[in-house]
Symmetry: C2
Subunit: 179 residues, 2 copies
Amino acid sequence: MPRKPEARQKLLAAFEHLVLTEGERAATLDAVAAQAGVSKGGLLYHFPHRQALVDAALARCEELAAEDLSRLTASPRGAAREFLATSVYEDSPLDRSLGVAFRLVQAREPGARETCARVERHWYHAVLEDVGDPVVATAVQAMGDGLYQQASMGLLPESSAEKRQILERLLESLERLAP
Amino acid sequence: MPRKPEARQKLLAAFEHLVLTEGERAATLDAVAAQAGVSKGGLLYHFPHRQALVDAALARCEELAAEDLSRLTASPRGAAREFLATSVYEDSPLDRSLGVAFRLVQAREPGARETCARVERHWYHAVLEDVGDPVVATAVQAMGDGLYQQASMGLLPESSAEKRQILERLLESLERLAP
DNA sequence: TTAACTGTACCGTCTGGACGGTAAAGACTG
DNA sequence: CAGTCTTTACCGTCCAGACGGTACAGTTAA
């Protein structure tokens, strides 16, 4: 029996890690291979070219987002509140994957924009179905995106106490908008 | 009298244009020089290395943001409403410069994060002074950032009618939050 | 045996940057 | 005011290194 291709997942994780912490430019083939503890030849065995890494990262993002969507719609406190509450960057697999996707959009990687657009649309519809009001849904989506924007720029405070305060303020806003 | 360095401004504009439309990776020295209609040597006369281009773009961003801040605080309808209303990407010099700064943050350019953090802080304080409530101020800032996030990912609709609708929804939310 | 690698040696292209040259506008000097 | 010097504002070329990608021979574990 062949060994399990565990290197493939390590490579993808290494790619995500490098994109998130060092920027897309730093995620070169050599860097990804080194980060994963895999030879360059091994990398190119699993991902015959760089685009394959990008595609895999985007596919994983859509996969995780789809899982998250069913979690949102099933939440007892409603999709809107659940969406906001989990929009604060917490380094979950989805957070990481989404952060990677956002950066790939900025790097003008083919397909990245479409992936993010689909994910956004699904979330918007889930929130809208929850609150019923397009005004509130638009506000919730903008706030969620704003949190990601701040997180992806490293503008959010480090301490979870301060992050919690920001989150509570946004949830309080939602409470006033959709009591 | 020395000739006016009009090439310098053309080069900075070319750099911004390339970062915004093609991504930071595409804004190479050759590309910037070609876009500005200047030789590579000419570029390196004004900006001795690539970092100088980045620094100049960030300095311009802080400059424009400072101008905008006084505009916000002087607005008759209040800083919060004025902030939201001008957060929809309209390709103003500030919008462009800020978009460039955001992308430079994602590209992990030194100093970019600090520039954006300063600008955000100033805006937050201006909005807070207007509305008086940290809950509302945090919500307004998140919504503004969300708009920029969406714009920088090309997720906002093309037509100004649809953009206006989004903006009106956010302004309506603000009306409900701070009547 | 075979899939899953490692390791090395390349290749063509692109990139940031170094460098030497040049044209013209002032400034200085006689 | 003519001749020379200096500074400014560029141009064009060259280069070392990095990058994506290829090729292929060897190694390891199920």
